[in-house]
Symmetry: C2
Subunit: 200 residues, 2 copies
Amino acid sequence: MPTVAPQRSRKAQIDRTATAMFRARGFAATSMRELATELGLEAGSLYSHIKSKEEILHRVCFGLAEDFFAGFAAATAQGSAPIATQLRQAIEAHVRVLTRDSAASAVFLHEWRHLSEPARTEFLALRDRYEVAFRALIQRGMAQGELHAPDAVFAALTLLASLNWLPAWYRPDGKLTPDEIAHRLAEQLLSGLRRTEEPV
Amino acid sequence: MPTVAPQRSRKAQIDRTATAMFRARGFAATSMRELATELGLEAGSLYSHIKSKEEILHRVCFGLAEDFFAGFAAATAQGSAPIATQLRQAIEAHVRVLTRDSAASAVFLHEWRHLSEPARTEFLALRDRYEVAFRALIQRGMAQGELHAPDAVFAALTLLASLNWLPAWYRPDGKLTPDEIAHRLAEQLLSGLRRTEEPV
DNA sequence: CCTACCGATCGGTAGG
DNA sequence: CCTACCGATCGGTAGG
């Protein structure tokens, strides 16, 4: 019986370290030997805790997908609230997931392509569902006259693209808190760049 | 003496095929043997045309960087034009580079991390210079009252993030031409999503 | 969790 | 452009 309980399970520790390495070097360029060294053990020992390298990637990608869906559901639970408010809350929820673990987010965004079938197809279906949910919210806002956009599809794409760029530059020790970042991003995306009407 | 000249050099053919594979599977997960097979030759034969796998990546990444800078320079050559016009032209130029070769663009955007030093650092410096150029344009527009944004840094980040998402969904055989896409993206980014003022 | 190891595959080269 | 090959490294397993 250990006198001090480990702060988190060995498995969770492997996931966490692997995620950081997948983010920095990419999934394919990260070897199980490097991962083991980083954790202070031998390569073979990893396999008493995990089944395969891809299993780690699978857990990270699908775990984050769950987080994104949960955030969106909470943000839009008050269906009677103004759409702009729901959209703002959905943006904030998305940013919160991205900033809570930006390494896992970067893996979610870029390394899913190394999932083998059928996981890869399942993952893309989830990602698509999420995108559709955002688009539907924007379309509802347009129908009610609260939002306007030349094209709802484009609006959803640019919105998510802008948010998903965050893990590329976010630093947990930066000047801005996640909530401040979320607020500024929402402000930027909702108001656009142009001050006055200009001819097209 | 061949009776029919090759349409492009073997080297350019290697670059092109490798770029498509780097995009689909990632640089590290693409083997020189698969590349050779795709080209209908043996792995060793590649090395009469190229020096190394990384050399291909280097050419793609730095070649595209040049294209982006050239496009931006042309778009902002008329320094006396309204900033909003220059910005719109810079957006269009950026989109034109992205759509002309979306495979190379995707590699430029995501695979540069596999460059070894010092190329990697040089590349990041170039990317940063480009970002700064966009930001400076936006700041100039704000100073002259043509543009408004809560934060010029955020504005530049969301702008480029939205544009750079394009290679992820652009299809050359889609309904929209590159110029139409550029126009809609510019419209979306300049005008924002909100119709009426709402309380913050 | 380690030691010792498996077969497979990697990027690249020599010599023709 | 091919044949034949190099040393290195890969993900993973057996047995303890």
